[in-house]
């Protein structure tokens, strides 16, 4: 079992391992970064530091739309805000038993919902790769 923050993208639900989550915050005003590729929604500042905000929906192929909150994730020195509709709760999710869609470690059925368990390092790799 892994403790995960459950986040909502429209009707879809994804889990982010708490080990990678630094905080959940309101998405402040974004400044676009021309040339940063399609997966970067922009740059915001949080506690005096700059933070790139990632279009999680586009990366995952989930329904796209404006998002109000960000889940700040970390992997080593890399840090990004994942744009989501809401962070709903922290719950212990079982390990996925089979590898699943891109950028996830698979999916699990939990309390009647299908939840994609995000692979944060792979997500950030994909963002890095798409930054021209």
């Amino acid at each position: 079992m892994t403790d995960c923050v459950r986040v909502a993208l429209g009707d879809e639900r994804y889990g982010v391992a708490v080990a990678h989550v630094r905080e959940v915050a309101e998405q402040g005003e974004l400044v676009t970064v021309p040339g940063a590729g399609p997966h970067i929604a922009g740059l915001c500042h949080l506690h005096g530091e700059l933070l790139p905000v990632v279009r999680l929906d586009r990366l995952l192929g989930a329904p796209t739309g404006p998002r109000r909150r960000i889940v700040v994730v970390e992997d080593g020195a890399r840090r990004a805000g994942l744009a989501v509709d809401a962070a709903e709760e922290v719950e212990a999710l079982p390990e996925p038993d089979a590898p699943g869609e891109p950028l996830t470690r698979g999916s699990v059925l939990h309390e009647g919902r299908l939840i994609g368990v995000l692979d944060v390092p792979a997500l950030l790799d994909a963002v890095t790769a798409s930054v021209t």
Binding site: E29, L43, A77, R78, A126, S130, T132
Partner: protein, 668 residues
């Protein structure tokens, strides 16, 4: 001698001896690796350097003796326990000396000399004090116990009250102050909207703003200091080194008002002494030799500092003999002169001089600079001199920028890169490119929105134009309006956005907005690419983007390659092994390049390659093999089978892949 310099030396030396004590105690227990021994050696060498620079000759001699004992240990990569007691004695004597008690130095030097001449007593304990047996206890620095044999302190320290603070704490403080300033401004904004608020409140708000401003300045002051605060001892150091090596040298200091981040500045004085030692003893020729060469008898060493975008370049350049042409040739093969000269144990002087030591100078400098996230550049011309440049990051330095606006978004440009701002009035068009008439000549004119590739309404007539100069070239950049200049704290975009070209970083504005800082060098280069880009987009209409087939059994690798290629504008299809790839090729007839892994279950990459080469009509289809193995046998096998190019996974970077695919497709 400047009391501040002495205080800095004391702090540094104490930090080093604390570290040395821990390593020595570990060595006594038989633990500790080659890296620890090398660090021990560097610490002793550094103390030697800065002590003699400040006239602490006794400490310098002691540290030099320790260095001599440590040199063979560094070569071996291990330190035997036998040498530890004498070295610990030396460490303790240094600790006592910097707090004002020189009494322990002489016996410590004697113990080290005994060790060097081979008649060391089995357990020399005479110089050892209790403090060293408890390395975790921080010794009381102002009240070091005086050994019974010691005379009265020869150089009583007048302790200046200093506070050692973690750099991160200052960063946190700065961030908090920044947030406070924003809060203050938002508050003011809200109060300003309410007309019923009385005058007294407005006055308090204004006062609050001033206080927060002062606070911000004070915190910034904690982080940045001009370079001149650490170069005060250098003229003396140069004179001493020159006297000892019988050289005549003049030192020129330039740009010492360049501000540097405090955390970076701390070690710079010491690095400069290393560089000066090298310059005097390896660079500058003896006066007679110089005269015979037609050079002035007295050599010149220039220390020059300047800010270059988000870096500070500190250069130490001499007009001495330079390195040999053979060495330059070796450097070309080796990669860079800096890497070659900084290889451990490398020295350009044949004889080991007392001053320059064993080439450890550049080794230590490079190590330190890279530890700060910077880099070292060395240029040399045989017979004419050598220049060593430390490129240091400027994570928190203050840059004055001009803020400009295009399509409603603010951008900053370092004022140092702007020649001037003019109205865009006299413009000319030729070959579809626009230029601005300026002082009887023309400068290429580009729209900031075109450089950035963003959608924007057309510029108004007479819109402001900035003349940007970089690397000897000029470009005129048009924008909607100028918002004025201000001092800003440059923040890094972070590792995720660092690869995006064209930005030096960003800054948070007073109103809470963010302005990206543009790199003048990028704007100048963009003058060519913006025009080329227009041609490309015209060509793209007539021909669909090339399609690439990516073959790999690992999902992440496949997706990574797909994203990279798609972001560069290619169409991509994928397959998870060789057989699937062949099926895909039959289905997707317009594939123009295949990128394949070697080891895959079922049909691997080399078999796939053979199969493709065996098919009519596909014998020239470019195939790039991606492998985790960089061995010659594999490369030979692949070449036999007809691979067009290799990308090694361990060196995998997206640019290499894009360059390779781009080259092969355009060859077709």
């Amino acid at each position: 001698m400047d009391e501040r310099l002495l205080e800095i030396f004391r702090e540094e030396a104490l930090e080093r001896v604390d570290r040395m004590t821990a390593v020595l105690l570990a060595a006594e227990q038989g633990t500790g690796d080659a890296a620890a021994v090398a660090e021990l050696f560097r610490d002793a060498h550094s103390i030697k350097g800065s002590a003699s620079m400040l006239g602490h000759d006794e400490v310098g001699a002691l540290a030099g003796a320790m260095e001599e004992v440590l040199a063979p240990a560094r070569e071996r990569g291990a330190l035997g326990p036998a040498a530890v007691p004498a070295l610990l004695g030396g460490v303790d004597a240094i600790r006592a000396a910097v707090t004002g008690d020189l009494g322990a130095i002489e016996p410590a030097v004697a113990a080290l000399r005994d060790l060097l001449t081979g008649d060391a007593p089995p357990v020399p304990t005479r110089a050892r004090r209790p403090a060293s047996s408890a390395p975790t206890a921080v010794p009381a620095r102002t009240a070091a116990p005086t050994p019974a044999t010691a005379p009265a302190p020869a150089r009583p320290a007048t302790p200046q009250r200093m506070l050692r603070v973690r750099a991160e704490s200052v960063d946190e403080l700065l961030a908090a102050v920044g947030e406070t300033a924003l809060h203050e401004r938002r508050f003011e904004h809200l109060a300003g909207r309410d007309r019923t608020v009385d005058e007294a409140l407005h006055q308090e708000l204004e006062r609050g703003e001033t206080l927060v401003g002062d606070l911000q300045d004070a915190v910034l002051g904690l982080r940045t200091l001009p370079l001149e605060t650490v170069v005060g001892g250098l003229p003396r150091a140069v004179r001493d080194i020159a006297t000892e090596t019988e050289r005549e040298v003049r030192l020129q200091l330039e740009g010492t008002d360049t501000p540097l981040d405090r955390s970076i500045l701390d070690g710079i004085g010491e690095l400069l002494v290393h560089l000066l030692r090298n310059a005097v003893s390896h660079g500058i020729e003896p006066p007679d030799e110089r005269e015979a060469l037609g050079k002035p008898r007295r050599g010149t060493i220039r220390i020059h500092a300047e800010q270059r975008g988000d870096l500070v370049a500190v250069t130490c350049a001499d007009d001495g003999r330079g390195v040999s042409p053979e060495l330059l040739e070796r450097a070309r093969e080796h990669g860079s002169l800096a890497d070659l000269l900084a290889a451990p144990g490398f020295s350009t002087a044949d004889a080991v001089s007392d001053l320059a030591g064993r080439g450890v100078g550049l080794d230590a400098v490079k190590h330190h600079v890279e530890g700060l996230g910077g880099s070292l550049e060395v240029t040399s011309e045989p017979g004419a001199g050598t220049g060593v440049t430390m490129l240091l990051p400027l994570t928190l330095a203050i840059v004055t920028v001009l803020l400009v606006e295009r399509a409603g978004q603010p951008f900053g440009l370092p004022l140092s890169g702007i020649e001037r701002a003019v109205r865009g009035e006299r413009m000319h068009d030729l070959h579809g490119r626009r230029s601005l008439e300026l002082d009887g000549t023309t400068v290429p004119l580009i729209d900031l929105a075109d450089v950035l590739g963003t959608e924007a309404p057309a510029l108004e007539a007479g819109a402001p134009v900035l003349i940007i100069a970089s690397g000897g070239r000029r470009v005129a950049v048009a924008c909607d309006r100028l918002l004025g200049d201000r001092e800003t704290v440059v923040k890094s975009l972070g590792p995720l956005l660092a690869p995006v070209p064209g930005y030096l970083g960003a800054t948070i504005l007073g109103d809470g907005g963010i302005a990206l800082l543009l790199d003048p060098a990028h704007l100048v280069r963009a003058a060519d690419t913006v025009a080329a880009g227009r041609e490309r987009s015209a060509a793209a209409v007539s021909r669909p983007a090339p399609k690439v087939l990516v073959v790999d059994d690992q999902f992440t690798v496949r997706e990574l390659e797909r994203t990279i290629l798609e972001a560069a504008g290619y169409r991509v299809c994928t397959a998870e092994d060789g057989l699937a790839a062949l099926t895909a090729l039959d289905r997707e007839v317009d594939v123009e390049c295949v990128v394949s892994d070697v080891e895959m279950p079922g049909m691997g990459g080399l078999e796939l390659l053979e199969a493709i080469r065996g098919q009519a009509g596909r014998s020239t289809l470019p195939v790039v093999i991606v492998t985790s193995r960089d061995d010659a046998q594999m490369l030979a096998k692949g070449a036999d089978a007809g691979a067009d190019a290799w990308v090694v996974k361990s060196q995998f970077d997206q640019q290499a892949l894009l360059d390779t695919v781009g080259r092969l497709i355009s060859l077709q």
